[in-house]
Every structure is written in C-alpha cells, then in structure tokens.
Subunit: 338 residues, 2 copies
C-alpha cells in the first residue's frame, strides 16, 4: 500500500478524520482514551502527515530560508564563505528541533529568488544599506531576522548582532598596548553594520586622542586584490600608520601580502587585525581577530524568527552579543605575552 493518509488512520482507529486530526495536533476536544487509540493506530500504520496538504490548508510551509547578502568573494575558491556554512548548519539544526527545515540560498543568488520559493521566514546574513534581499522579503511580507543590522534602516528590526563598537574599541586599546599607536582602518565600500560600527568606534577613539582618522576603502568583490591595493595606498599616503584593522578577512590577507612586498614587518612595523574565520586562523602569520560565536548567532536568529512567526504582531526585538578578541601573531601584545 502507498503512504497511509489520515483517512486510513481514522478507519484503523474507528473514528472520523476530524478526530484524528484533532488528536494528533492537540486541537479541539478529544477524550484521552480516544487520543490514545488514534496515536496507536497512527503508529501502527507508520502514518506521517503530508506536508503539502497541511501546508495548503494552513498556508504554512514549515520551511525557513537562509541567505548571505555578502557575495562569495571567491578570491581563492574554497572556504571563502565557510562561516556561512557554520551559520547555516547551526541554523538548520536549531530550526529542525522546532520542526522547520532550512532551505539554503546559494551564495550570489538573485534576490528575486524569494518570489519563487515558498517559505515561512528567512535569515539574512550581513545585510547592507538598502539591502535587495530584505526589500524582496518585505515586498512578499515574509518575516525575517538579520544577522548584523541593516545600516540606515528606519526602525529597529528583528536582528542578532555583535557589539562591534565595543569590540573595535577594545581592539584599538589592544593595539595601543604595544606602545604609541597610529591606527588606520581598511573598510569595504559596501556598508554593512559591522563596518559602519567599526568606523564609528574608530573615529571616536582617534578623536579622543587628537589623532587624524585614516580610513581607506575598496569594493568587497575585489577581495584579496582590494585589500592589497588598499594597503599599498595606505602605506604610500600615511607612512606614520603602524596598526590597521581590516575587518573583511580576504582584505586582511591581501594586506599582509602588500606589507610583505613593501618589506614591512608584522607586527613590529605594522599591527594587523581582522574578523575571525578560517583565513585568520590558518593564515601565516596567524591574524589577531575579533571573534564571534557564529553558531550562537544562528541559534539566536532562529529563535527570534520563531518568536516572530508565533506572533507576527510582536514588536521587533534585537539581541546583541559580545565578541572576543583572539590574539595571534599579527599584534604586538602577542609577542609580549607569547
């Protein structure tokens, strides 16, 4: 026989389809003993509700989507977006516990994708200003949670975020531990909340010390090349700079190459730090980095999304997480302690 339906269970248990549905979903009023009989029958037949039928009736798919707004900077292929995997996997696991499956939106997919797939909600990584993915979701009235805030958004949205202002400040303090410090910042042209926050904290920090702000940018798609070029320009224009925060990790490794070519020693002549990931970990020298627990981000994002699905009228809630600074080879305090 093909897959048993609710009608088969009803026949087996000697009740109506309505009662089976109620017994299984906990709706309506069903005598305890009847419920047990239904559950038994369902078990015996190996009954599984048909998701399509259920979805049709309830207008819910029990599917979430996860997408990365950051394009796959395929500088050297593998692992460029490995943190995306970490997040996606963790989100999928968390969602599954609540009975939701997670659709993986491939890197670099067009935002139009969201009008073709049927989902109850979405998680978007690192949205940028006026993010096209978020626009598409809003248009379709699909609830979403962002990891990282949408910079320049009007009201606060559902999001989970790291405290990048605090982290940047602590990082600059860490730079300064190595002695007198003239820090610079290498950012992406694209505005994502981590970069705007880093800029804010940086400008505040240098202003307090009466230092001139030095910020160089490149388009994120240029990846390693962009970081290399930015660092070269920086060295030429601001020779006094002796520490640099380069959040985007392909930029950071590109910057390391530029420094090597220019004959600058790291960290003696130039301290370098980035956001954590496989690149930072495995690069030689290993990069000091601002590190976030991406798995926790993902878990939290799913929880917020489910909260929102349960009550679409709830007021948006954000969660902020503390980052750690992982000291490796590219900053002076490392040499001092290690």
């Amino acid at each position: 026989m093909s897959r048993p339906t609710i009608a088969d269970v009803a026949a087996e248990a000697g009740v109506s389809k309505t009662t089976v549905s109620h017994a299984l979903t906990g709706q309506g009023r069903v005598k305890e003993e009847t419920t047990r009989r239904v559950l038994d029958a369902a078990e015996r037949l190996g009954y599984r509700p048909n998701m399509m039928a259920r979805g049709l009736r309830t207008a819910r798919t029990r599917l979430l989507a996860i997408a990365n707004s950051v394009p796959a900077v395929v500088a050297d292929g593998a692992g460029a977006l490995s943190y995306y995997m970490t997040v996606a996997g963790s989100a999928a696991r968390t969602a599954l516990r609540s009975g939701y499956a997670t659709i993986l939106i491939p890197p670099d997919a067009a935002p139009g994708i969201f009008s073709d797939i049927a989902i109850d909600g979405a998680i978007i990584l690192d949205p940028q200003t006026a993010d096209p993915f978020l626009a598409a979701l809003r248009k379709r009235h699909v609830p979403f949670v962002t990891i990282g805030r949408e910079p320049g958004a009007l009201g606060a949205g559902w999001c989970v975020d790291s405290d990048m202002i605090d982290a940047t400040t602590r990082l600059l303090d860490h730079f300064a531990l190595g002695g007198s410090c003239r820090p610079a910042l290498i950012l992406t042209e694209e505005q994502r909340s981590y970069s705007t926050d880093a800029r804010l904290a940086y400008e505040r920090w240098v202003a307090q010390r009466g230092l001139p702000p030095v910020v160089v940018t490149a388009h994120e798609k240029r990846a390693e090349k962009g970081g290399h070029a930015a660092m070269s320009r920086l060295l030429a224009a601001h020779p006094q700079v002796n520490a640099v925060f380069v959040p985007l990790d392909p930029f950071a490794t590109g910057a390391l190459h530029a420094l090597a070519e220019a004959g600058r020693r790291v960290p003696q002549d130039m301290q370098v730090a980035t956001l954590d990931g496989v690149r930072a970990q495995f690069s030689v020298p290993a990069l000091t980095a601002v590190s976030d627990d991406m798995e926790a981000f993902a878990r939290c994002a799913v929880e917020l999304l489910l909260e929102q699905l349960a009550d679409p009228a709830a007021t948006p809630r954000g969660v902020t997480m503390q980052s750690r600074i992982v000291v490796r080879d590219t900053t002076l305090a490392a040499a001092a302690t290690g």
Copy 2:
C-alpha cells in the same frame, strides 16, 4: 488583495482555470493567442503558483535535500566541514536553475530526519558501508545520488565519484619521484569509498614493488588527535617509512604535529599528502593534496538526480571524475621544482 490564485488569472484572462493551468505548464492544447493572453494576465496580477497546492496534487515538492554522512569532526571548530558548504552551495545553485530548492541537512543530524521532511530526492556526501542515511532513504523510496560510492553496496547506484585508485597511484608515484620511497597509509576505521579505494591502490602499488604494506587506522571522530596518535604509532613501529598518505585532512594536520614533536623534518624525513581543503591549503607547511573540484561534483550530482527524477526506471548511472594532485610544501618534488 491577498496573493492571486489561478482562479483570479482565469477571470482576468477570460478563460477557465484548466486553460490557465495548461497555458502555464505547457500541458494540453491551447491556442497560441490564448496562451499569450493568459501569460499577460498572470504577469499583470503578479501570479505565482502556490507550491503547496501544486505539490499536493502532483505529489512532488520540488525540494531536494543535501546531507553529509561524515560527522562534523569539530577538532578546532570553524571550517572543519567547509567543503560541505562548497558542495551544498553549488548544488543549491544548480538545483535552483531547474526550479528545485535545496534543504540543508545539518551536520550530525539523525538519519530519521528523512521520514519527517518532504523531499523529491537527496544528495548524500561520502556514504560509508551500510550507510544509515541511505538506508533511511531507501526505506522511504526517495531517489538519491551519492558523492563517493557506498562501499560494499550490491549493485551500482547513482553516484559521482573521483577516481581515487588512479589518484592514489599517481600520488605514490609522485612520492617516489623524491627518491627511494617507503610509503604508508593512515586511514579512518570508517569505510568510505575514497578510503577503501586508496587502500586498494596502495596495496597494489607496494605489492608490485615487493614492499610490505603499512596501514594504520583511527576513528574519524578523533580528528586531529586520531591523526596524531596514528602517526606516533607508525613512527614507533615502522621507522623505515618515509612517506605517508593521510586522506582525512584533520588526521593529516594531526600527523604533522606528531612529526614535529618527534623531530622529523617534512618533507626530507617524511613526505605527507592528504585530500585537499582549507586545512591542506592553509596549514603550515602547506600540504600536498589530491584535489577534486567539489563544485563540479555537486553540479553533476544534481544533474544525475534530476535525470533520475525524470525517469525513475532508468538504470543507475555513475560519473567518475579525475582528481588533480596539487603539489605544496610537504613532498620532495615540490622542493625540487619550487
């Protein structure tokens, strides 16, 4: 108004629902001009077919799943399974082109998952002997394609695979380029096709040269520790060995540590190679590796799966891909050429 249905389009175009359905899906007979009118109406209303309704009727979800049979060997957290992301992302992209969305099965999920989600097909990475995921899929009659063969399976199944016998042979030849060579093999206890193939090729290679086979194994879950322990045992028991193929990359980095502790120079005293990935690339010294185009694997797997979905009665087809050997710091030919 809420989302338009096929009935709205029918009204707008002045035809029946049947005709709309036929015009949109290309079924049945519809006059060219009528089709155009329907398409126009659908466009004007922004009509999107309801996936749940369609799925209910056709018993197809247009969802695929991708899962990794290899547990997340979370030796040092991030990036341990970054190749899984590469594959999953590439598969998702390919599937999307044919109108399928891809569900990400989180690492370490229980095989029982497949009785709770509604999918048309699945892609399973690196199945092991008597793989529980494949068992679950077979039980539910869900078509699947494996990346890597299921070792010890009776008939041939739908799969895409690398020619690991050839690659291993070439790798051993590469080892031998550095002079007289006594190679060993460090494998996982778990049998996946790449490991059984590597063993086969290795045993053949040493037999041809009248050398004794040296194979050491560890449980894959032990990750770096396992590789470390295996290498230590190898050094103690077989001091004459001067080259080792360690397919599982966490094992390989673990082995490198053991070698460093034992004061053996790499590659002078011991050549080392592994399967490619971020670890191999970024490890210091960088590991010579057998490298596969995982994105191509994924594309191919999706194509095979769609082929199978189009004709479930088709005889299973396998595709074999050629691997490259990427020479880095841990083999002697590298020193010779670089």
